[in-house]
Assembly symmetry: C2
Homo-oligomer: 178 residues x 2
Amino acid sequence: MTTGHVFIATSLDGFIARRDGAIDWLPGLETDPGENYGYDGFIESIDGLVMGRNSFEKALEFETWPYSRPTIVLSHTLDDMALRGDIRKAVEISRLAPGDLMAALAQRGWSRVHVDGGKVIQSFLREGLIADMVITRVPVLLGAGLPLFGALPADVSLAHDETRAYPSGLVQSRYRVR
Amino acid sequence: MTTGHVFIATSLDGFIARRDGAIDWLPGLETDPGENYGYDGFIESIDGLVMGRNSFEKALEFETWPYSRPTIVLSHTLDDMALRGDIRKAVEISRLAPGDLMAALAQRGWSRVHVDGGKVIQSFLREGLIADMVITRVPVLLGAGLPLFGALPADVSLAHDETRAYPSGLVQSRYRVR
């Protein structure tokens, strides 16, 4: 079975971006020189990414495509044909529902998927497709923005694995979904 | 000057209670026998509490009044005269705005106030009256409820002081408001 894995930063009040998608409040690399907060190790452990259109459009703003693993973009409005030439090999658009997508990815031999973006994480959590989450808290309150979490059909009980505080003030916790 | 201090538990998705005020998802004392998560030390450090009507009515559900420090309840609808006999010495109703209340408490010689309850914490944060917050994360997602944080006129930058993970899975972080 293919499992979903979250690795994401939020403000202390639970937002992953401002309302307009801005992530200016995330500390830059200069805050902890040489520190990648475990991201490189996480990326090495996954077979590919699943994200929504918002995260995809955010990624397109980088000069070069920022992800080294194959990426599935969940969208009903985008089309493979419209993809920029340089990312056509890295990115695939899918209209599948979360469960159907995970079944399709299992067929391809993917075992671990990085699930990214608020709405996509929420829909995968609702379907019970997330195995664990690494959440890094940035010491700031934004007051408004795009939330990491959303409505659920029932409580989701978690097991705390590990927490690490960084000199920059970021606090990273890993939880398994029970 | 009198400073406001927060000591509160939230679900991982940032709720301090379910929509109806229920806190059944908070771990009981049996989870970490003899562990009070630093609450006793915190209470010893404060001169009194400020809370809203919701927290007050929650406290009234206990067989005996649960707070050992003088308590101010912010309410426009309650009245001192309506207070139950056994808590008349412990509780006072106030209609003052946060800043005016803190000025009045300073006059009384209070230096540290425990600010409790979502709406009251949010209004004190908006007025810059909170000095630090101890937030204890319970490893559960509720999906809905009464949020700890709310809208703000601007970002609130925090400094991370300390984080401690408990065997029960609770993770407690202390932040100073910059």
